[in-house]
Amino acid sequence: MKAFLLRRLAFSLVSLVGATFIVFSLSRVASDPILLYASPEGYGKTPEQLDAIKKKLGLDKPFFVQYILWAGNALKGDLGRSLVGERPVKTVIGEKFGNTVQLAVTGWLLATLVGVPIGVISAIKRGTIWDYIGRFVALFGLAVPNFWFAIVGVLIFSVWFEVLPSGFKGEGFSIKHFVMPTIVVGTSSMAGYLRMTRSSVLEVMDSEFVKLARAKGVSNRFVVWKHVLRNALIQPITISTLLLAGLLNGTLVAEAVFAWPGLGRAMLEAVRANDFPVMMGGVLFFVIIYIVFSLIADLLYAVVDPRIRYS
């Protein structure tokens, strides 16, 4: 287990370095990086001033040295300053992240609390109307473009029936504001989750020990609860952490449509304003989230399923 943990940590580190390096190189390939760091008002700057900024930011150094400098600063928690408003990137991320977490968690709850039960029912009642409903929900959720889903939701519930708010208004904020964004964020993960649970349950239902239990005359309810679900839900449970990681950076579209003041929206604004330090900080932040959560998922897998022994 210890050896596995070390190996796994080493892989995480490789992923972290690799992923940030890819994004970092992109920024250097695209154009002269000085244009990314000199703020928009900087167009009138003289070449001497630009050189000074270059020196200050270390852009005159070789490519690899620049990456190491950037990574070193990031390790110390210094992600640079936003070009818009000159605020530290860390602060920008910090103050927006809470809103994104709220939305990701409600979406995740929807995906789990709806997706898993429907998946189980769909598998257990295979071939019945329940199964068709479940499969249709899965097919729908995986195919519907979430931005369109959001807009149709706004059209029906905000414009026509006026029962739900169409965006985040700051004042008079209530639980109602969560309804549509949550559904938009959660639907596709819910569908994916449903499918996974369904095939996992079907696979276990087809296994020898379940057949034996049935042959012994064990009641259907007992077979399902004690034998099938216990084994079939291992995978969905462990995957749930990865799902949350995916949702944290998957709220982007919902935040854009519902004017939700989260990290995704901040990133979009940064992209529009060519605020490169913020973009880079955001990418790094999401990479770390993914890597940590996938590590947790792997460990959880070993804890939940005693048959898994990493060596």
């Binding site: 892989f11 490789v14 992923s15 972290l16 690799g18 992923a19 890819i22 994004v23 992109l26 920024s27 695209a30 154009s31 990314l36 295979r126 097919l139 729908f140 995986l142 195919a143 519907v144 473009p145 979430n146 931005f147 369109w148 807009i151 149709v152 706004v154 059209l155 414009v159 499918r195 095939s199 079907l202 696979e203 087809d206 950076n249 998957g250 982007l252 579209v253 854009a256 449509v257 990133m267 979009l268 992209v271 529009r272 060519n274 973009m279 880079m280 955001g282 990418v283 999401f286 990479v287 993914y290 890597i291 996938s294």
Partner: protein, 305 residues
């Protein structure tokens, strides 16, 4: 009461009833067996993409400010001039949706094929050589998975500017990963088959084994992954266009159309509804056919999925 009625039915009536049922049964079985509806959607789509200039009633970019936000034809105040209505600058939505299929298919097609080539080659190498090669390629895939794709795509578009080529490259950067895993796993199975062993013993070159045995052996898996990936690519292209990181306006891209219509939701919901519906139907059909193909090639999975 029901059974009493059945008893009193004349014999020929029962026969007729059975025949109708058999006829319906055959249709039902046919529809269950073959993905008729999804295939129809996709054929229509490809037809629209190829013959867009011939079948679209109007030029998709021509504006007519007098006919802004005209409702679809079946509305009381709609006219047959604009079957699906017109948008905020009076462009015909039907024509734009038809032309939009070209963009969707072109972007998804090109990025799929380039991703496929890269992914399949890496998957073959990883599966066949194993060891260090496999390790490096697997790590690379892991690194790729850690990237927050949508955000990276936005960054790339903001760095390089939005254009057809950039969009295709960005999407190819997503699509290759799926192929590596599947092809690698399949190669592990195929390479231990007797016929590959025998071929090797007989002195066949690695090139020969790749072309003659491995690639045909993993073809069905590639086809399934490809069909399932196209749907995802179309969805991603639409999302990027919606977020303003796709092909610049006025090119009729479905995602962009949804985004443009958004500001006129209260007056003209149709201008963002139809393109979105087109995306939805296309992706749903592709996913359906992907599932169907997987079942077709691997009947063992049929009950599981």
């Amino acid at each position: 009461m029901n059974s009493a009625q059945q008893e009193t039915l004349p014999a020929d009536r029962i026969l007729e009833d059975n025949q109708t049922r058999a006829w319906w049964g055959a249709v039902y079985t046919f529809f269950r067996r073959w993905p008729v509806f999804p295939a129809f959607v996709l054929v229509t789509l490809v037809f629209c993409a190829v013959f867009a200039y011939q079948i679209a009633p109007y030029d998709p970019d021509v504006q007519s400010l007098r006919d802004r936000n005209e409702p679809p034809a079946w509305f009381s105040d709609g006219s047959t001039k604009y079957l699906l209505g017109s948008d905020h600058v009076g462009r015909d939505i039907l024509s734009r949706v038809i032309h939009g299929s070209r963009i969707s298919l072109a972007v998804a097609g090109v990025s799929l094929v380039s991703g496929l080539v890269v992914g399949v080659v890496l998957g073959l190498l990883a599966g066949w050589y194993g060891g260090k090669t496999d390790e490096i390629i697997t790590r690379l895939v892991d690194i790729w998975h850690a990237l927050p794709f949508l955000l990276v795509a936005l960054v790339v578009v903001s760095l390089f500017g939005g254009s057809l080529i950039v969009l295709m490259v960005v999407l190819a950067m997503v699509s290759w990963v799926g192929f590596v895993r599947t092809v690698r796993a399949e190669v592990f199975v195929v390479k231990n088959q007797d016929y590959v062993m025998v071929s090797k013993i007989c002195g066949a070159s690695t090139y020969h084994i790749f072309i003659r045995h491995l690639i045909p052996g993993v073809m069905h898996a590639i086809l399934v992954v490809a069909t399932l990936a196209v749907g995802g690519l179309i969805l991603t292209e639409a999302t990027l266009s919606f977020l303003g990181a796709g092909i610049p306006a006025p090119t009729p891209s479905w995602g962009l159309m949804v985004s443009e219509g958004r500001d006129y939701l209260t007056d003209a919901w149709w201008s963002s509804f139809w393109p979105g519906l087109a995306i939805f139907l296309t992706v749903m059909s592709l996913n359906f056919i992907g599932d169907w193909l997987r079942d077709y090639f691997d009947p063992k999975l049929r009950q599981l999925v």
